[in-house]
Assembly symmetry: C2
Homo-oligomer: 200 residues x 2
């Protein structure tokens, strides 16, 4: 009288997706089986191929199919700058600015004690080795400006500075196109504190 077992197993398995609870998992399962059988088959294949093919780049830690990703191998990037981001998505966002031509290191996470992720879980010794290769002159920390991202930035900068690596942090402030009326007080306070002298 209950739901058949392979359906239950599918609903349970869908819950590994981020933000998917029991209700959405149920809706997804029925939707796939009723309206998206071809898509569901493609999804199963894509999952298996990606799990088999993708690994971490030996240099920047992002997901790639090769030992070292194309970006790290590129001769057109400035190897003296190393930008540290939390995720590959953040790396893509940085690339879309067309304002950076250095290399990256992807943490694949952030320091988050509440989730049991300390510096050890992020394997920061790999970043340290990467930043101390003799070519990198400046590490630009571009973690998020959330509590966890800020804690990560603080930890990283202490760790890197103690090894004599030059460290910077991307700027906080009023967004481009932003109106003071609609900016939160914390951001505005920070923009004031970090004001820059204008050229005369």
């Amino acid at each position: 009288m209950n739901a058949p077992s392979s359906l239950e197993a599918l609903i349970e398995a869908l819950r590994c997706l981020p933000g998917v609870g029991p209700k959405s998992a149920q809706r997804m399962a029925y939707h796939l089986l009723q309206n998206e059988r071809a898509g569901a088959g493609r999804l199963a294949d894509a999952l298996q191929r990606a799990l088999g093919a993708l690994r971490h780049c030996q240099r920047c830690n992002t997901l790639t199919e090769a030992e070292v990703c194309g970006r790290c191998l590129s001769s057109r990037r400035d190897a003296s700058q190393l930008c540290v981001v939390e995720t590959p998505i953040d790396m893509n966002m940085m690339e879309q600015t067309h304002a950076y031509s250095g290399l990256y290191y992807v943490l694949m996470g952030r320091v988050s004690p509440l989730d049991g992720i300390g510096p050890g879980e992020l394997h920061l010794e790999r970043l340290l080795a990467r930043a101390s290769d003799g070519v990198v002159r400046e590490v630009i920390i571009a973690t998020n400006f959330t509590n966890e991202g800020e804690a990560t930035a603080h930890y990283l900068s202490e760790m890197l500075k103690s090894r004599g690596v030059s460290v910077s942090r991307i700027a906080r402030g009023v967004p481009v196109g932003g109106e003071l009326e609609y900016v939160d007080a914390g951001t505005l306070a920070q923009a004031l504190r970090e004001r820059r002298p204008l050229a005369p």
Copy 2:
């Protein structure tokens, strides 16, 4: 320099899930590959097993692993009542009321001209055959009270009544525990129009 192809394929494949756009698909893909590799493997297996095992029940049209589902085969259900619902989830909701012991017919959708789903796409001739089996005395329409659900109910009742089948619709009204102050005017108007005489 672009995202590797098996990663792109996975992001694209995840978009077959309902309500998942390019941004969430990207987030899901990285989350699975970074933090949920075991879960992703289980999901791939579960999808393939479910696609292979599940089909529509010959009698009630829900998803099942057998020719006819356990509920339709049960001798403890009242075969003279047939409740028509849109989805298996709605059937589960009806079961949770413990107020119904008849059988079901699951439309697996609703009449929705905007999505190109007319009566033909729902294979309503199967419901008609099911309702005209000589055992069913009453068809209870329990489609949603949305525009599409109401249109479906209207179409079904016309179709069934023209064949001499007795049709009813679940009641609209103020929810149990509901306060008039917080009920929308449409619901309250309907509750007034469909008021019931009280026993003296």
